[in-house]
Symmetry: C2
DNA sequence: GGCCATACCTAGGAATTCTAGGCATGGCAG
DNA sequence: CTGCCATGCCTAGAATTCCTAGGTATGGCC
C-alpha cells in the first residue's frame, strides 16, 4: 500500500531495523514507519510472516517475553543475519544506482 | 533474475528509457541493460507484456515499421506517459530516500 | 543448409506482499 | 464496570507482478 516498490526489499528493511537492537514485531513496524518518515507503513499481516521466514532461514532468532502482562516475541539478528543485511544492503545500493543511471540518462 | 527489486519499478524503467526517444521492445531491453551497466537484464517475456500494459493505459503509443525486412513495433511516450514518468520518478526518489534512512539509521 | 542474432508474442508458474479476518490483555474514559 | 482503543500476536487466501518456457518469423554468415 505504501509502495509496491517494497517488493523485494522487505527482508532488508526488517534486518536493517533489527540491526539497531532486538525488537518485537509490532515495534519493528513502528520503527520502520518512523525511520522512513511515514513512507513505509507495513501491515501486521506483512511483518509477522516475513519475520517467521527470516527466522526459519536462520537470519534472526526469537524469544518470548512477558512485559506488563502482555506477551511479546522479541527478535534479534544472528551472525548470518548481519551478513545477510550487509549483502542485501550492498545489493540495494547497486540496484539504486542502476535505477538512477537509467533515470538520469533520459535528460 | 537480475533483481527481485525490479518489482514495482519496471514501468518506470521503461518510461524512463523511452524518454530518450522512440524505440522498439528489443531495443529497450538492450538500452536498459546498457544504461544500468548490466544491472537490469530484462527477459523478453517481461518487456513485451509490460509495454502492452503501458499502451493500454495510454502512457505510450505504438506504430509498426519494417526495417531491413524485419517488422518492428516502435513505442513512443505520450503526454500522459511523460507525466507518469515524472510522477513515478518522484515516487522512486521518495522511496529510495526512505530506504536509505532506514538503512542508515542502523549505525 | 544450419545456425545465430534480431524481433515479436503468450500462457501459466513462481514469488512476494497485502487483505481480511481472528484472538487476547491492559488501561482509560465515561 | 463497561466500552473502546492501543498493544501484541497470528494465518489463509487474494492480488499483484515478473519470469520461465515455449512458439513464430526474417536476414546474414559460413
Amino acid at each position: 500500500m505504501a509502495h509496491d516498490r517494497i517488493k523485494g526489499n522487505l527482508d532488508l528493511l526488517l534486518l536493517a531495523a533489527l540491526a539497531a537492537g532486538p525488537a518485537h514485531g509490532y515495534e519493528l513496524a513502528a520503527s520502520i514507519r518512523e525511520r522512513s518518515d511515514g513512507e513505509f507503513v507495513l501491515a501486521e499481516g506483512t511483518v509477522y510472516p516475513a519475520l517467521h521466514g527470516l527466522e526459519s532461514r536462520g537470519l534472526i532468532t526469537s524469544s518470548w517475553h512477558v512485559v506488563g502482562g502482555r506477551r511479546r516475541r522479541v527478535y534479534e539478528l544472528s551472525g548470518a543475519g548481519r551478513d545477510a543485511r550487509d549483502r542485501q544492503a550492498a545489493d540495494w545500493r547497486r540496484f539504486a544506482s542502476g535505477m538512477n543511471r537509467v533515470l538520469g540518462a533520459s535528460s
